[in-house]
C-alpha cells in the first residue's frame, strides 16, 4: 500500500529527496575535510536537520503519522540536543584549536571518493528491490556511513571521534527512512532512548578522561600492550 502511494507522489517528491540525499553526501565530505571542532559540530547539526526534513518529506509522501513522530524526534535529538550537548562539553572542557589528523586532508578526500564508488557498487544490486523513487538512496546512505567511519578513524581527539560516530548513526537513519520508509514506532523510540543514554555516557566519560589526563587528546590512550 505504501509502495503505491509512493509511486503516485514520486514525481514531485522524489527529486527533492534526491537533492537531500546529495546534500547528505556533501555534508559527509565536509566533515571529512573540516579541521575545526566547532565547525564539525555545526556540520553534524546540519546533518540532523537534513535527516529530519527527509523524514518529514517521506511522512508527507506516505501519510504515515508514525513518520511524523520520527521526524520530530530526529529534529529534537539529532538536530538540536546532540549538537548542543557536544557544544556544552567543548566549552566546559575547554577543548581548543584544530583537530589532529593522522592523514592529511587531500588523501582522506581521495580515499573518500574510492569509498563512495565501493558503496555504490555494493548497493547497486539492492536497488532492484526498491521503489523507483528511492533508487540510489541506499548507495548514498552506505557511502555516508563509510565516510563517517573514515573520519572517525583518522581523527585523534575524543570529541571528533564521537562526531564521526554520530555521523555514522545519521547515515544509518538515512538508510532507514529512505530505503524502508522508517522503522516501527517502538523501535524508533528505543533507538531514541539509547541515544539519550549514550549522550549521558559520553558526557560522564569525557569528564573522566579529562580529569585523568588533563586532555581529550586520545594519544594518551595508547598504552595498553599485549604483554604488559
Amino acid at each position: 500500500m505504501i509502495m503505491h502511494s509512493i509511486l503516485a507522489h514520486s514525481a514531485i517528491i522524489s527529486p527533492v529527496l534526491r537533492i537531500l540525499a546529495a546534500w547528505m553526501l556533501v555534508l559527509s565530505f565536509a566533515l571529512l575535510a573540516q579541521r575545526r571542532l566547532l565547525s564539525l559540530i555545526r556540520l553534524l547539526a546540519w546533518q540532523g536537520v537534513t535527516l529530519a526534513v527527509g523524514t518529514a518529506l517521506v511522512a508527507q509522501l506516505t501519510g504515515d503519522p508514525i513518520l511524523w513522530v520520527s521526524a520530530v524526534l530526529t529534529l529534537s535529538i539529532k538536530g538540536i540536543l546532540m549538537p548542543y550537548v557536544l557544544h556544552y562539553l567543548l566549552r566546559r572542557l575547554q577543548v581548543r584549536g584544530d583537530v589532529e589528523m593522522t592523514l592529511n586532508v587531500p588523501s582522506t578526500q581521495l580515499l573518500g571518493i574510492l569509498l563512495v564508488v565501493f558503496a555504490f557498487s555494493i548497493a547497486a544490486p539492492l536497488d532492484g528491490y526498491l521503489p523507483a523513487a528511492t533508487h540510489g538512496m541506499l548507495g548514498i546512505a552506505l557511502a555516508a556511513f563509510l565516510l563517517s567511519f573514515l573520519m572517525m578513524i583518522t581523527r585523534r581527539k575524543a570529541i571528533s571521534q564521537i562526531v564521526g560516530f554520530l555521523a555514522m548513526d545519521n547515515a544509518l537513519f538515512f538508510a532507514a527512512t529512505s530505503a524502508t520508509l522508517g522503522m516501527p514506532l517502538i523501535v524508533e523510540l528505543g533507538i531514541a532512548l539509547d541515544t539519550l543514554i549514550g549522550l549521558v555516557v559520553i558526557g560522564v566519560f569525557f569528564f573522566q578522561i579529562r580529569d585523568t589526563f588533563d586532555s581529550l587528546d586520545l594519544h594518551y590512550l595508547e598504552h595498553i600492550r599485549e604483554d604488559k
Partner: protein, 484 residues
C-alpha cells in the same frame, strides 16, 4: 504476566539503585533485587515447562526454550554476581577511594546491564533486541572505566568505539531485515517480530536477507568477540572490576551470539542457509586459533581468561554453524556451562588479584597453601573451564568434536589444535598460581563468603555434566528446532 514481573523487577532496580545504591545498603539492595529476579525467572521456567511457549504484550514478548535457557542462566549468574559483588565491591571502594556517586553509578549501571540482558532474550522484536544490546554496551562502558585508571579509560574508549561501530552495522542489518520483511508482512511492528518472520521465512527475499545477515554477523560478532574485531574484549575484561568481567563473559557474549542465531534461523533458502552456516564455522575456527595462540603471551590473569572466553565463544559459534540436532545441543550446553564456569573463574581470580593487589600471574603464587578456600575455588573453576570431567564442558566439547567428525572432518585438526593449545597455555599457569612457593601477600585478605557462588555454580556445572535434569535436556533439544 510473569514476563512483565521479570522485566519490571530488573528494570525498577535501575532508578532505585541510582538513588540508594551507595555503601553497604546499595550492595544489599542490589543482591535483593537480583534474588527476586532469579525467583521470577524460576517461576517463569515452571510456566514454560507446563504451558510451552508463553507470550505477553500481544506478541511483543515471547519465551521459548532458547530464550528461557538464556534467561535462566542470566538470572542465575546475575544473582551470583550480586552476591560476589557484595564483599568484593566494598573492598574496591576502600582501595580506590570511590565516592558515593561512583558507587551509585556502579550499582545502577550494573542493574541496567542485567535488565538489558533479560530484555534482549525475552523480546520477540528484532528491533528491540538491537536496542537492548546497545543499552548493554552503553551501561557496561562506564563499569569498565569506573576505577578511572588510565588503563581502564583506554579500554573503555576502545570498547565504546569498536562496539559502537559494530552495533551500527548490526542496526543496518536490522534495517535491511525490515526492508526484506515489509513486502511479505506489511509495515508496522509485526514485520520485525521473530515469530512472524520465522513463520514466513520462505517469503522473504533471500538476497536482501543474506546481505543483512553479513552486517549482523560482523556487527553483533564484534560483541561476541569474533576475530578480527575482538580487540576490545581482553582490554575491557582486564580493566574493569572483576564482577563486570564476569558479567561481560557470562552474559553479554552469549546474548550477542543469541542475536546472531535468531537472525540466522530466518535464512532458510538452499543457498542462504548453508552460506550463513559456513560463515559461522569459519569465524569460529579463526577466532578459536587466534585466541588459543594469543594466550601464551598473557601475563595478566584476567586477560588470559578473557582470551579463554573468546575461545569458548568460538567453539559455540562453530557448533551452531555445524547445525544438526547433536551439534546444536552441544553448543547450547556449552553456552550454559561456559557462563557458569567462566563467571566463577572471574570471581575466584578477581578476589585473588584484589588480595594480592595485582593481576600479574607471576605474583599470584601458592594460593592453595596460603589461602586454601580461595585456592580451591581457583582450582575447581579453572579445571571446569579447561573442560575436565565431570564438568559439563567436557561433555559438550566431546559432542562438538563428535559432530565435527561426522559433518565436517576438515575442521577437526583445527579444533584439536585449538583446544590443545589452550590447555597447554593455561595449565602451567594454574600450577604456578596454586603450588609455587607463596609470595608475601599484602595484608588485604577478605573473607571467603564472596566465594560461595563459585562452589554453587561449579556444582551446577557438574550437575549439567553428569545428571542433567530431564526438563533442561528437553529444552536443549528444542533449541535445535528453533535455530534451524
Amino acid at each position: 504476566m510473569i514476563i512483565f514481573w521479570v522485566l519490571v523487577l530488573a528494570g525498577a532496580g535501575v532508578p532505585l539503585l541510582a538513588f540508594l545504591g551507595s555503601g553497604r545498603r546499595g550492595a544489599r539492595l542490589f543482591l535483593l533485587l537480583n534474588f527476586l529476579v532469579l525467583i521470577a525467572c524460576v517461576v517463569m521456567s515452571v510456566q514454560v515447562a507446563t504451558q510451552g511457549i508463553i507470550r505477553a504484550g500481544g506478541d511483543e514478548f515471547r519465551v521459548d526454550a532458547f530464550s528461557l535457557l538464556l534467561a535462566l542462566v542470566n538470572s542465575t549468574v546475575g544473582f551470583s554476581i550480586a552476591w560476589f559483588s557484595h564483599s568484593y565491591f566494598l573492598k574496591e571502594v576502600q582501595h580506590h577511594g570511590l565516592s558515593a556517586g561512583q558507587q551509585k553509578l556502579y550499582h545502577s549501571m550494573f542493574q541496567l546491564f542485567l535488565f538489558t540482558m533479560l530484555l534482549a532474550v525475552l523480546t520477540n522484536n528484532m528491533g528491540i533486541l538491537w536496542v537492548a544490546l546497545e543499552g548493554a554496551t552503553l551501561s557496561s562502558v562506564l563499569l569498565v572505566s569506573l576505577m578511572r585508571k588510565p588503563q581502564g579509560l583506554e579500554a573503555a574508549w576502545k570498547y565504546f568505539i569498536l562496539c559502537g561501530v559494530g552495533l551500527a552495522m548490526a542496526l543496518l542489518g536490522t534495517v535491511l531485515l525490515y526492508f526484506a520483511a515489509e513486502p511479505a508482512l506489511g509495515a508496522g511492528s509485526d514485520a520485525l517480530l521473530w515469530s512472524q518472520l520465522h513463520a514466513h521465512s520462505a517469503a522473504l527475499n533471500s538476497g536482501v536477507l543474506t546481505i543483512a545477515f553479513i552486517f549482523v554477523l560482523v556487527g553483533f560478532g564484534t560483541k561476541v568477540g569474533l576475530a578480527p574485531l575482538h580487540s576490545w574484549l581482553p582490554d575491557a575484561h582486564a580493566a574493569g572490576p572483576s564482577s563486570a568481567s564476569a558479567a561481560l563473559s557470562a552474559l553479554l557474549l552469549n546474548v550477542a551470539l543469541y542475536a546472531i542465531l535468531r537472525f540466522k534461523s530466518l535464512l532458510s533458502g538452499p543457498v542462504a542457509g548453508p552460506f550463513a552456516a559456513h560463515l559461522l564455522m569459519g569465524f569460529g575456527l579463526l577466532t578459536l586459533l587466534l585466541a588459543a595462540f594469543s594466550m601464551f603471551r598473557q601475563q595478566d590473569v584476567k586477560r588470559l581468561f578473557a582470551y579463554s572466553s573468546m575461545e569458548h565463544m568460538a567453539l559455540i559459534t562453530f557448533a551452531f554453524g555445524l547445525g544438526g540436532p547433536l551439534a546444536v545441543f552441544a553448543g547450547m550446553l556449552h553456552m550454559l556451562g561456559h557462563s557458569l564456569a567462566k563467571s566463577s573463574v572471574f570471581f575466584a581470580t578477581g578476589q585473588a588479584s584484589q588480595e594480592a593487589g595485582t593481576q600479574d600471574i607471576s605474583a599470584l603464587n601458592g594460593l592453595l597453601h596460603s589461602r586454601p578456600v580461595l585456592g580451591w575455588s581457583v582450582l575447581l573453576s579453572v579445571l571446569a573451564i579447561l573442560g575436565m570431567p565431570p564438568g559439563s564442558l567436557f561433555f559438550s566439547e566431546i559432542l562438538i568434536l563428535a559432530s565435527a567428525v561426522q559433518q565436517s572432518w576438515q575442521s577437526v585438526p583445527f579444533l584439536l589444535v585449538g583446544v590443545g593449545t589452550v590447555f597447554a597455555a593455561i595449565y602451567p599457569r594454574l600450577q604456578s598460581m596454586l603450588l609455587a612457593p607463596a609470595n608475601s601477600l599484602p595484608n588485604r585478605q577478605s573473607g571467603v563468603g564472596g566465594l560461595l557462588p563459585v562452589f554453587f555454580q561449579i556444582s551446577l556445572v557438574v550437575i549439567l555434566g553428569v545428571a542433567i535434569p530431564g526438563q533442561i535436556e528437553l529444552w536443549l533439544h528444542d533449541v535445535a528446532g528453533i535455530v534451524q
